[in-house]
């Protein structure tokens, strides 16, 4: 017995020692961080903003960024771009104070003076030039290079003036510059860390990086030498809390100030609570149910239209999404610049659907499959659609896949029908139109319906080059009309952003692109 006790005591000691030496979080920036680890059960202090999030950031280099959880840590916080978008998606000054087109392919930017990166490096025209060279370099292999590949040259005119020359007239340039990938990084840090900048982020933003315990939390602190106003609190902590119910319980008890995302099933709980409320705002994404138009019977436009008539999208939004989001009539929502409000979607009309199927030669229906990833809402949508399609004689089998496998299968065109969403970080029509409908974007880039229409290709190309906004709107209006008519997909829903906000937080708003805007927050204790 004594020996067992001894053995246990020894293993216990060994465990304590291991815990003691290795649990140091990864630290960057200054070392006097105020990490919130072990802050216990007490309510959050007034100088620390705590955000409970679903997923940890992957890395904090904007030039190689591909995911929103990471962008939410750095975009507009650690880094700023030359320009930014306000809540109406209008372009506003950031690191550039003024800009004007000099000719069809040249924009001139006047840069803000007296700005310093967090590492003390001065911000100037040379830094801007180095940033764009970095994004477009092979060494970085930025997945975001597509946003800037038309840039031919960044010319330093003087210390605080740069010209960006594009290979062809490119209208969405300002919107692309406002994308998180357009964040300006410290050239000194970029040189020092290379591809590892993602672990040692240095920008010009209101917040500087403090520390990161991977999988657990990231801490930023306010940057005292920021060129503008600094927030009313000292630090912001992003805590990774994968379980929905836990995240919301944290806001309820005051352990966190904000929690996101909020599952639609938790809406009532938040609205009925005394200690928190729900922040709802229009998003830029669209959920859709696509057809593989290269495959029979979906290569027949009438079949696609028939299914559009046979699916009751309103019922899906009510039943699956708990009335979060709005019925979609076109591929992009009202939040996106270029939205055409005159496009009419398909009503719910079984008779018309049957008629069209008959015309297409599928009077007795057919067998097909609906593919989706293992996301509960999408699986629910698939089930609703499955039962609705029965009404016109179509037998659909549901194929649920794991995310990685699903992306690969749909990029290869193995699917029949499939459910996906398309977010829109730039808020510009081009980001939606090019990737979803251009024949050159088929497969991995985004066009997973494998849709191909020469006229639409032409319009999308023209939209990229047209500099007159009025004419651009017309171009996109026409493109959307054709796309809805061709029906490569059922456009289901324009999404909505939901955030649980503790009642002691004031001044929070959500950027339509899904970015938390925390600058104006005050925390009342």
């Amino acid at each position: 017995m004594k020996k067992i006790a001894m053995l246990m005591a020894i293993s216990f000691l060994a465990i304590l020692m291991m815990t003691g030496c290795t649990s140091e979080p990864q630290t960057g920036g200054s070392s006097d961080s105020e990490g919130a680890e072990g802050s216990g059960n007490g309510s959050a202090a007034g100088d620390e903003l705590i955000i409970a999030v679903l997923s940890d950031a992957t890395q904090l280099d904007p030039h190689t960024g591909t995911d929103i959880p990471s962008a939410n840590v750095y975009h507009g916080k650690i880094y700023e771009g030359l320009v930014k978008q306000d809540e109406n998606m209008e372009i506003q000054p950031a690191l550039a104070t003024e800009w004007e087109p000099i000719d069809d392919v040249t924009w001139e930017f006047t840069l803000r003076e007296g700005v310093k990166f967090h590492d003390g490096t001065p911000f100037n025209a040379e830094a801007v030039k180095k940033n764009f060279e970095r994004i477009l370099s092979e060494e970085i292999a930025s997945p975001r290079a597509t946003l800037f590949e038309m840039i031919e040259e960044v010319k330093v005119v003087d210390d605080y003036t740069v010209q960006i020359k594009t290979a062809y007239p490119f209208a969405p340039l300002l919107a692309n510059l406002a994308h998180y990938a357009g964040g300006i990084v410290s050239p000194t840090a970029a040189e020092k860390y290379g591809k590892e900048l993602g672990q040692h982020p240095v920008g010009t933003g209101k917040f500087k990086f403090e520390e990161w315990t991977p999988g657990s939390q990231i801490t930023l602190s306010t940057y005292d030498e920021y060129w503008g106003e600094t927030p009313s609190y000292e630090t912001v902590v992003y805590k990774v809390v994968p379980e929905d119910a836990t995240r919301i319980a944290m806001v309820e008890t005051g352990e966190a100030h904000l929690a996101e995302p909020v599952p639609v099933t938790e809406i009532e709980r938040i609205e009925n609570s005394d200690s928190m409320s729900l922040n709802r705002s229009q998003g830029l994404g669209t959920d859709y149910l696509g057809f593989n138009v290269q495959k029979e019977p979906f290569n027949n436009k009438k079949v696609r239209q028939a299914i559009n008539y046979a699916v009751d999208t309103e019922q899906i939004i009510e039943g699956v999404y708990n009335n979060v989001g709005t019925v979609a009539d076109s591929p992009m929502g009202p939040g996106v610049w270029g939205y055409n409000e005159n496009v009419e979607g398909y009503e719910y009309n079984i008779e018309k659907a049957k008629e069209l199927l008959k015309e297409a030669g599928y009077e007795d229906g057919f067998k097909t499959s609906i593919w989706t990833n293992d996301n509960q809402a999408r699986v629910d949508v698939a089930e609703v659609v499955q039962s609705q399609l029965k009404g016109i004689g179509i037998e659909a089998e549901i194929n649920v896949m794991e995310w990685g496998a699903y992306l690969e299968a749909t990029a290869n065109g193995e699917h029949d029908m499939f459910i996906l969403g398309w977010s829109n970080m730039t808020g510009d029509a081009d980001y939606n139109q090019y990737f979803l409908f251009h024949s050159e974007a088929q497969g991995t880039p985004g066009n997973r319906t494998f849709y191909e229409n020469e006229k639409v290709d032409e319009l999308i190309d023209a939209g990229r080059q047209e500099t007159d906004p009025e004419k651009r709107l017309e171009i996109y209006a026409e493109a959307q009309k054709i796309e809805v008519e061709d029906a490569p997909a059922i456009f289901l829903r324009y999404d909505e952003n939901l955030v649980a906000v503790n009642n002691n937080v004031e001044g929070f708003w959500m950027h339509p692109a899904g970015i938390y805007m925390i600058d104006d927050i005050t925390i009342n204790e």
Binding site: N41, Q59, Q199, T444
Partner: protein, 306 residues
Amino acid sequence: MFIFIVRRVLQTIPVLIGVSLVVFLIMQMVPGDPAVLLAGESATEEQVNQLRSQLGLDQPLYIQYFDYIKNVIQGDLGTSIRSNRPVLDEILVRLPVTIELAFWSIVVTVVLGLLAGVISATKQRSLTDVSIMVAALIGVSLPNFWLGLMLILYFSVQFQIFPVSGWGTFAHIVLPALTLGTSGAAIVARMTRSSMLEVIRQDYIRTAKAKGVKQRYIVYKHALKNALVPVITVVGLQFGALLGGTVLTESVFAINGLGRMIVDAIRMRDLPLVQGSILVVSALFVLVNLIVDISYKFVDKKVDLN
């Protein structure tokens, strides 16, 4: 005993090579391309190919595997594809958390389980015995994630005794350890009860009773010690399983442990991270088994390790 330990440690080498090979092959067979997942939406074919070659994924499989093994032998587990951080660092951030959680869960398992089992056995067929066994049945059947959420609901949201989530102080450990320890405790209780009942009927217990040895001394010194061997086996297995991470409980309490990391890594096809963490977990599992085998010797002198 020393020879025994050395031999067992050497035996782990082929085990680990086998594990790495199996994991490597499975990850190759699963559909889903890490380069595509890393490049994200709107990446062109060209960019994906560029990433693929940067990651060395365009090399033949056997070269990828041997490069990997070569590096592992030199102590380099590689770099995570997704975060660009060394795999060893990623593991070391989470391992202590996982070990601590596993340790406290096992404490709950052993203390609750043994106590309940011994009481049950000594009061066989009483109301206490029946109640404990019913409780044990419920304990085994409760799904972890549900128990966790209920504990949060009552002890964190309603009564605000313990924090909802996080890690760092003892208060953070209580609810997750209870969540994880409960089902183990239930198994241990049933195990202890049945093996105690067997021992209690042995002649030497009767002899001890006849000698007039105190009841408590008989139970804990004579009976329990001999009933422990099967219990140790169960506890060892439980501990090994806990070290592999407990995805659901870690998710519910937002604990930054190995289980969640491995699942996320598999989802992103982060091969080096999956390989590295499974290697480490396997090594730990083997180690725990070794400790279990050695501890048999302490409990029962008749066990021959060689």
